[in-house]
Amino acid sequence: MRWFYWMVFLGCLSPGLGLVRDTFQGQLGVNPVETLLHETGRTALAILFAALAVTPIRRLTGWNRIQRVRRMLGVWSFVYALSHLLIYVVFNHLGDVGAILDDVVERPFIFMGMLTFVILLALAVTSTNGMIRRLGRRWQYLHRLVYVAAMTATIHFAWGQKADIREPLVWATGLAVLLGVRLFWAVQRRQRQRRPSPVRAVSH
């Protein structure tokens, strides 16, 4: 099992290492910051979706130990979202807080991105064992915000496009599947609870 954990770890680390290498080798293309923003954003989204895929994969395959990488995936997604934000803050806005706040307030596309970041931040800081223990049931409720983050991240991506929304549509479809299976299971569960079981019906 350890090897799987570390494989996932390396899989999450390598896109970042690749970008660092490209930065120092001048391989980011003519508009380096655009490349960095697109790649960190896309990676954050991909890893977030991977985290959301853990539970469905576990339920469909019965491979329970995959659950152990879920928290790590969530934290990695946050790490990429944080780099995405920092690149925007440093290179696009030269750290000008006023200009950034203007951007957040005036531009829905930036607002969606920032909202996503705030959610991921809250989830990352409450991801430790201690916080899970301390928050108890509230931890569950808080961490359901990950569904909201996946939606706002996808909207942020779509609204950032100039004309071609084909790629965001692919992500939106993936998200619909990830959320759809959960909805399907929730409905099933509710029906099972409401309907008396056939076994009991016979015994009456």
Partner: protein, 317 residues
């Protein structure tokens, strides 16, 4: 790239002396003698490139941006030319699939001389000049490009706009078989752009056929594109196949696509933000920091501000 097997004896159109010049050759020699001294002194920015696609031009000292030009590689590998794909690297990858010769430009509308023209009928290749212009993209990045071309006014004078004409409309080629981006549902094809006639006749507005001492690469809009240095880059229609003079404001593609984000005028203006980003500053590529203040009319205000006297540029963005 288009591979042309040119024999040494072959001449390109730049070598042909137009009849008009031939007829007035004495005057031609007299006027160019002065210019050619300057030409020998500066030649092109690229230096001694003896490329097959070399396109000699005289640098116009009036239009030399103080900024250092971007490299040929930067200018030809980072392009917004959705006809070849939405990624900035797509045009460099796929534009070689386009056939640019032969090329016909349909001239119609309110003109005295409508008809089908070849590139060399519209552009006087003996009068080519090099101008170094800043290029400001609506996406808040900028470059500096040594274009080669002639004033658009010289082209329009050949086709004789009628007095009733108030606008010029440029249509880009629609040929999905050679422009793979047109097979995708991104923009409405063909791409249409336009200018008010006084903007089009302004001495800064250039009809471009080359850059960096070479024939215009396909990814930059070969064989014929316009460049309007005080407007955002998308106003500069590429690979033009139709020039129409009209009294109605043309419906330019981006303004039709997203009317709240792109207008007809699209003058570079740091005070009018794009709905999704500020236009106050730009990143001068290939830099990292968006720390170059954007100038009103991209720094060409002294020459063009008068065109918009009394106009509300916030509404007419």
């Amino acid at each position: 790239m288009l591979i042309r097997n040119r024999r040494p004896s072959d001449l390109s159109y730049s070598a042909v002396t137009p009849e008009r010049v031939y007829a007035t050759r004495r005057e031609f020699i007299r006027t160019t003698a002065i210019g050619s001294i300057g030409f020998a002194a500066c030649s092109s920015v690229a230096g001694g490139e003896a490329a097959q696609d070399a396109l000699p031009a005289t640098r116009n000292p009036r239009y030399v941006a103080a900024d250092t030009p971007n490299t040929f590689e930067e200018i030809t590998t980072y392009n917004n030319f959705y006809e070849f794909g939405v990624d900035k690297s797509d045009p460099a990858s796929y534009a070689h699939e386009l056939t640019v010769s032969p090329w016909t430009v349909k001239v119609d509308g309110m003109v005295g001389k409508p008809g089908d023209y070849g590139v060399e009928d519209l552009v006087d290749f003996t009068a080519l000049e090099e101008r170094i212009y800043r290029l400001r993209c609506v996406e808040a990045w900028s470059m500096v490009v040594p274009w080669i071309g002639v004033p658009l006014s010289s082209v329009l004078n050949k086709i004789e706009p009628q007095p009733s004409a108030r606008f010029v409309e440029f249509t880009t080629l629609q040929r999905p078989s050679e422009m793979r981006g047109q097979r995708a549902p991104t923009l409405e094809w063909p791409y249409v752009e336009g200018l008010r006639l006084d903007e089009a006749m302004h001495p800064l507005t250039l009809m471009v056929v080359g850059l960096y001492g070479r024939v215009l690469p396909n990814q930059n809009g070969a064989p014929l594109r316009v460049n309007i240095p005080w407007k955002y880059g998308f106003k500069s229609g590429k690979s033009i196949v139709r020039i129409r003079l009209t009294d109605q404001m043309p419906r330019n593609t981006w303004a039709v696509m997203a009317p709240s984000e792109y207008g007809f005028y699209a003058n570079v203006n740091p005070e009018v933000p794009h709905p999704r980003w500020s236009q106050a500053r730009e990143v001068r590529l290939p830099g990292f920091f968006k720390n170059t203040p954007t100038q009103m009319f991209n720094g060409y205000g002294d020459e063009v501000a008068g065109l918009y006297a009394g106009m509300d540029l916030t509404r007419n963005f």
